[in-house]
């Protein structure tokens, strides 16, 4: 296996040589001089150095430039020596690859700015077209697609010849097509083929490439390009519908998650719970605390931080909920409007308490690796955090629904909220059930906070930004109906996301509010209104 890698590197070195030969013939100066320039702490010198090193054909080039990208290239301004800190912590002299014992005290990482980062990427792109890692090859091919630099053609051809991974083959084919399309001396047949390949890619960038095709081309090519553009446009329009639908689902899931606890405390128990948002906030802060603990003590467990935070947030928020119920809410049953007053007061207290404890500013909650980034289905980008939140929300919903429907506690909860006095006479320990119900609603709000910490601020104001939306969702869906909350959340989410591109975020939101107002006129008890005598009784 080791030999295999070595073999790959040999090809790599060869290819670098190839690039050098084609692209920048005979750039003068010895390699050491070029490396030395990294020590100047000047962006344009660094830029020169990147070019020189990349095209030097020196086998150390790859190590140096990838070190530069990762901030592992250290330069000592006094001695003007440059070092590479290898990922395993070993330190070598950049120019000679000689190991050194330790870094000089004055050494600092070579600084980059965006321009340089692009230069580094381009250089690495050339250097990684033949990388052993298919993901890197694809990435490199894609940057070639964007730059469609003619000089890369031989390398791309070379890569394509040996490529076995399907996705990488496609990427190389597209890169090759992009180059050919803009290559002045490519034949018409080659160009038509290129247009077909680019059309097949079908995304925004493909379209940009085709529309960027300049004048004096043969008519056949122009019309082929126009046809391809039109086709891409049509498919993009379709995809954007899908995209909007996905965004809507995702927004809906956030709304649902925020509202679901309220569907219990407000929908089932009838407590106008203005402190609901603060329970969400507490959940988010639990996540923060968990991550802090992990960061300082067990950094390796970071990816599991959310898994730990979920039960903890449920317990903490639930316990606070039970405390609140026992000390305040229980005196207010049968007086729902007064719960508004007390819970509003409570929300002020909780906000300020958190502000006092954790400070008024945002706290950092990170995304574990499995919640970072995105993948694409066709032309739709789906971010992992949103996807997981959607799944999580649905799971929470299903569990809650099952709990209310099928467990004894669920039945007792509903009985108690419908007629507390009679429930007691049926032998139901109403105060216990009340406390548990409120605790459950609060606990669920808490776990919502864990999820929301992944996409929003963790600040004392977190809760407030969700409380109004949550009430809208519960009421729109129909109070007391969990399914209503589900459908309500997704309806509002999707409607919002289809309105937003047309009307803009602000007017879109206003439109949604007006729609809610009008909708309630049609269905004065929400989307999934409970009907019949039972309700009026």
């Amino acid at each position: 296996m080791f030999a295999n890698v070595l073999e790959r590197f040999r090809t790599l070195a060869l290819s670098i040589f190839l690039v050098a030969a084609f692209a920048v013939p005979a750039l003068a100066g010895p390699f050491e001089d070029a490396v030395g320039k990294f020590a100047n702490d000047d962006f344009s010198d660094t830029n020169d150095a990147i070019g020189a090193v990349a095209s030097s054909g020196n086998p150390l080039a790859f190590a140096i430039i990838s070190a530069l990208q990762d901030g592992r290239l250290m330069a000592d301004p006094d001695t003007r020596k440059v070092y590479v800190t290898e990922p395993n912590g070993k330190i070598v002299d950049a120019a000679t690859a000689e190991p050194v014992a330790s870094l000089p005290a004055a050494a600092a990482a070579v600084r980059l700015n965006n321009r340089l980062r692009r230069a580094v990427e381009a250089a690495l792109g050339g250097l990684t077209l033949l990388s052993p890692d298919p993901a890197k090859r694809i990435h490199a091919a894609q940057s070639v697609f964007k730059t469609h630099d003619e000089a890369m053609l031989p390398l791309v051809d070379e890569a394509l010849k040996n490529e076995t991974v399907k996705a990488a083959r496609l990427a190389f084919t597209e890169a090759r097509a992009a180059i050919l399309l803009f290559k002045p001396d490519a034949t018409d047949a080659e160009k038509l083929e290129a247009i077909a390949a680019i059309k097949a890619r079908g995304d925004q960038e493909a379209m940009a490439l085709l529309t960027g095709l300049t004048g004096d081309q043969p008519a056949a090519i122009v019309s082929a390009a126009a046809n391809a553009t039109a086709a891409i446009q049509r498919s993009l329009a379709l995809w954007s519908m899908v995209q909007n639908a996905w965004y809507g689902l995702s927004l809906g899931s956030v709304l649902l998650l925020a509202a679901i606890g309220l569907a219990i405390t407000f929908g089932v128990m009838g407590v106008i719970n203005m402190a609901h948002g603060e329970m969400v906030m507490i959940g988010a802060y639990v996540t923060f605390v968990v991550q802090e603990a992990i960061r300082t003590s067990y950094p390796g467990l970071f990816d599991y931080s959310l898994l730990m935070a979920v039960p903890l947030a449920f317990i903490v928020a639930g316990a606070i909920g039970i405390l609140i119920e026992r000390s305040i809410i229980r005196f207010l049953y049968g007086r729902p409007l007064e719960t508004l007053l007390a819970t509003w007061g409570l929300s002020l207290v909780l906000q300020q308490a958190v502000r006092t404890m954790f400070g008024p500013t945002n706290r950092e909650v990170g995304n574990p690796s499995w919640m970072s980034g995105a993948f694409e289905i066709g032309q739709v980008t789906i971010t992992y955090n949103r996807l997981w939140i959607l799944c999580f929300t649905l799971a929470v919903f299903a569990i809650l629904l099952a709990m209310l429907r099928y467990t004894a506690l669920g039945l007792e909860m509903r009985a108690v909220t419908q007629n507390r006095r009679m429930a007691a006479s049926m032998g139901i320990a109403t105060s216990r059930v009340d406390a548990l119900t409120f605790g459950l609603g609060s606990g669920i709000a808490g776990i919502a906070g864990v999820a929301l910490s992944q996409i929003d601020n963790v600040s004392p104001n977190l809760g407030q930004s969700y409380i109004i939306d949550s009430f809208m969702v519960v009421v729109f869906g129909g109070v007391g109906n969990l399914w209503g909350t589900l459908v309500g959340a997704f309806t509002l989410g999707i409607a919002n996301k289809f309105l937003e591109p047309v009307a803009g975020a602000v007017l879109g939101k206003i439109a949604i509010l007006v729609l809610i107002i009008l909708f309630i006129q049609k269905r004065p008890r929400g989307l999934f209104a409970l009907k019949g005598r039972a309700v009026e009784a």
């Binding site: 305040i328 007064e338 007061g345 002020l348 809208m472 009421v475 107002i517």
Partner: protein, 389 residues
């Protein structure tokens, strides 16, 4: 026709309330204007403005109590009517600035100049005339309430559904008024007023007059509310609150009743907002924030829902608490205090300050009244209370 409606509404506590407001309305401005600055009894100008604000809030609280306390309509969007009244007044005050704005444009307010408005938007016309602005102060909130209420009450939207759509209404207005395109100065709102009816808004005399006017408005609002709730209409409202559908079966057009008080209440809120703006010197979209409306409801609850006097008292107490707690050493903890106040009032004084007071006082008074009646009866031998008093 009118007088009996008024006389009927004046029981002892109502009279006392009116007397207190009148006294405050006269004494505070007098002391501010006549006594030398710094004397012990002189009310400094900043307090006049502050009290003026409280009085405006008290009017808003009365408006809310009328619909919530008596008719059971919990509006979580009454701040919208207050703010609309405020904007109507603010627009008048902006137009009064004339060419004294920073860009010196005689027609366009400053924010329009620098946002390149070619001309005054149509809805700004007429606001250079006080009478028109004053009319709009009542008409705009009233009309919005009428349309909104007409839709909602006819569709029989009740309870939390109504509360939440009122909230949606004020939230939508909040977002709308935030937009610079809306033509109301965006988030910065309307400020830097110069004068009102030719008097400098910042002059002590003007402030005193505005304060007096606010007290007067409070008294009138109170009288109207009392007249409404002590009439048979008031009983119908309570009936609607307690058993809406039963009231329908008795032949009352419930939606008309609700629409009437809702609109009336919105107009009152508009007046409150209009008086508020020149006294605090700014109107901005945050007055539409749902939280403001919720707080206003809370003033009413703290003071005592369904007691009118309590609503006004609650507004003053809560806002005074806010002023008090947000300064000095307590400033960082004021939310704890206010939050605790709300919680404690709910738990310990479930009927609010005045409601709880009444609950103690009523039985005692009832006893006294029966005692009096009995002794009176013994004296002149009549026991039947006079039916047509």
């Amino acid at each position: 026709m009118m007088p009996h409606v008024l006389t009927r509404s004046l029981d002892r506590s109502a009279t006392v309330f009116l007397a207190v407001v009148a006294a405050v309305g006269v004494l505070i401005p007098l002391s501010n204007l006549l006594l030398p600055a710094g004397s012990m009894f002189q009310v400094p100008t900043y307090l006049v403005a502050l009290f003026g604000k409280y009085v405006c809030y008290a009017i808003l609280a009365l408006a809310i109590d009328l619909i919530w306390g008596y008719c059971g309509i919990l509006s979580l969007g009454h701040g919208a009517f207050f703010a609309l009244g405020g904007y109507a007044m603010g627009m008048y005050l902006m137009r009064q600035i004339g060419s004294r704005g920073v860009y010196g444009n005689p027609i366009l307010p400053d924010f329009m100049v620098f946002l390149n408005y070619p001309k005054l938007p149509w809805y700004w016309h007429g606001f250079d005339m006080f009478w028109f602005a004053a009319l709009m102060v009542i008409l705009v909130p009233g009309l919005l309430a009428f349309c909104f209420g007409w839709l909602a009450f006819r569709s029989r939207v009740t309870g939390v559904y109504l509360s939440i759509i009122t909230q949606a209404m004020t939230y939508a207005l909040l977002l709308g008024f935030f937009r610079n395109d809306f033509g109301f100065g965006g988030n910065n709102g309307l400020t830097d007023f110069k004068d009102i009816l030719g008097f400098n808004v910042q002059a002590d005399g003007t402030r005193a007059a505005l304060f007096l006017l606010s007290c007067l408005a409070l008294m009138i609002t109170f009288l109207i509310c009392r007249a409404v709730v002590t009439s048979k209409l008031g009983k119908v409202l309570i009936a609607v609150r307690d058993a809406e559908s039963r009231t329908r079966f008795l032949g009352y057009r419930v939606e008309s009743y609700k629409l009437f008080v809702f609109t009336l209440s919105a107009c009152m809120a508009g007046v409150a907002g209009a008086l508020y703006v020149p006294q605090v010197g700014i109107i901005n979209p945050s007055e539409f924030a749902p939280g403001n409306s919720i707080e206003a409801v809370i003033w009413v609850a703290v003071g005592g829902r369904g007691t009118l006097v309590g609503a006004a008292l609650g507004a003053v107490v809560v806002n005074y608490a806010k002023t008090f707690f947000t300064s000095g050493a307590l400033a960082p903890y004021w939310l704890f205090m206010l939050g605790a106040l709300f919680i404690l009032v709910t738990l310990l004084l479930p009927k609010g300050i005045v409601g709880t007071f009444n609950a103690w006082w009523e039985p005692w008074r009832a006893q006294r009244i029966t005692a009096n009646a009995e002794s009176a009866a013994r004296e002149d031998g009549v026991s039947e209370p006079n039916p047509a008093e």
